[in-house]
């Protein structure tokens, strides 16, 4: 039986899929997951889920979003020197949020 494994790096993060293990029951699946997926990686928590329990929909069935260029709604798009202090602070926050979004999209840990 195949169990999909989801690893959470630190408290508050999302559990992200990191692979699978073969095991006869949940208890063994957790033990194998621990050994195979968290022995060398910083880990706060693991989930195991029976592969059969996972639902899937893919690009063959639907058109997903997230492909539109939405740069028009970010401060970084409009470049002028020396914004007011509080406007610059807002732009910094937006730039940081974009870095984090990119890290998620690109799968950086």
């Amino acid at each position: 039986m195949i169990w999909e494994v989801f690893r959470q790096k630190k408290a508050g993060d999302y559990h992200t899929h990191c692979g699978n293990v073969h095991a006869p029951d949940r208890e063994m699946a957790l033990l194998f997951a621990e050994v195979q997926h968290a022995r060398r990686m910083p880990t706060n928590s693991l989930w195991v889920v029976p592969k059969d329990e996972i639902g899937e929909v893919d690009t063959e069935d639907v058109a997903f979003g997230g492909t539109t260029d939405k740069s028009y709604r970010w401060a970084m798009t409009y470049n002028f020197e020396a914004a007011a202090e509080e406007v610059a602070a807002s732009e910094d926050e937006q730039a940081e949020a974009e870095r984090q979004r990119k890290a998620v999209v690109d799968g950086d840990d």
Binding site: Y72, R73, Y78, F80, A84, E85, S90, E91, E93, Q94
Partner: protein, 314 residues
């Protein structure tokens, strides 16, 4: 909690719905946040026609995103106000519709042409942002929390407004003249954005003592002018003669406030200014026209969750 304790403890994000706040505090905070929320909504309605009138697809997308953001800010703020237990969100929305709800002076004036949009999107939003940045450390925590999100998004609004202004002021001579004319029309209203001078402000003392308000009208106006007068001049706008503005040796500005039309300002403040009433009514009509959307969404939720509609997360 008694009022003395409130004044003693009044610091950034000091009070939350967990605290038992005196009625004076809750009323003052409701008044301030409701005003802010109403302003977000009325600002959005003022800019809404320019989604359609925008001269390019990029501007259309940006204005659409901005209007959507502002309405969201209004909702966040009604939620922060609601948490004080004085008025419900519905009561506040009803007050806005029936002309009792107060909102910013600038949003009482209709906007007729595209060249006017940066007057709101750059100058008024820039002024609002100056004020909102200080409110991140207001004493009512849900209000400060809403400001985190508002300030995060607002940087795009101001810079997009600046982009439109830049485009106009580097465009044809006609465009530059029209932008200058719009600036002259809006400038006194923008100066009045921060309200009457501290001496005439009726609510400042208490709001400041209990930590709701962080800077006085005069301080905020001065800070705004220090940044935005040089900006306006850099883009080639000529600062109008009225009101007289003198630059001090230390780089700050003095505004001859008595040259401004405070009768009109206080008429607006009471929702008695004719063009402003048109703004209120047209929003009310738009709300009524889309009542069927709200109803069908409510019915849908009712079916899904059986009456216990989940509240939006803070």
């Amino acid at each position: 909690m008694d009022l003395e304790t409130v004044k003693e403890r009044a610091g950034p994000r000091e009070f939350s719905p967990k605290d038992d706040m005196p009625e004076e505090y809750r009323k003052a905070a409701t008044r301030m946040i409701q005003f802010h929320a109403n302003s977000e909504i009325m600002g959005a309605y003022l800019e809404r026609p320019f989604i359609r009138q925008a001269p390019s697809l990029e501007r259309k997308l940006a204005f659409s995103a901005k209007v959507q953001d502002e309405l969201g800010h209004g909702q966040l703020l009604y939620r922060a106000a609601e948490s004080l237990g004085i008025k419900t969100r519905q009561e506040m929305l009803d007050e806005l519709a029936n002309g009792q709800g107060k909102f910013l002076n600038c949003f009482h004036y209709p906007m007729e042409s595209w060249v006017e949009t940066p007057m709101i999107a750059f100058f008024v939003d820039g002024a609002a942002m100056r004020r909102q940045a200080t409110l991140k450390s207001t004493s009512w925590e849900p209000y400060a929390h809403a400001m985190d999100k508002v300030c995060f998004e607002e940087g795009f609004h101001v810079k997009h407004g600046e982009a439109v202004l830049h485009e106009l002021m580097t465009g044809s001579k006609k465009e530059q003249e029209m932008a200058q004319a719009a600036f002259e029309k809006w400038w006194p209203r923008i100066i009045q954005f921060f309200g009457p001078t501290d001496k005439q402000s009726t609510h400042h003392g208490f709001a400041s003592e209990v930590g709701l308000k962080k800077m006085s009208n005069d301080e905020l106006r001065r800070a705004f002018l220090n940044t935005y007068i040089p900006k306006a001049e850099k883009y080639g706008l000529v600062i109008p003669d009225t009101p007289t503005i003198e630059k001090n040796d230390d780089g700050t500005y003095n505004v001859a406030e008595d040259e401004l039309d405070w009768d009109e300002f206080f008429q607006i403040a009471k929702n008695e200014y004719e063009p402003g009433l048109g703004q209120i009514d047209s929003r009310k009509k738009a709300q009524e026209a889309v009542a069927w959307v709200r109803e069908s969404m409510d019915n849908h939720e009712q079916r899904l969750y059986g009456g216990t509609s989940p509240q939006a997360a803070d």
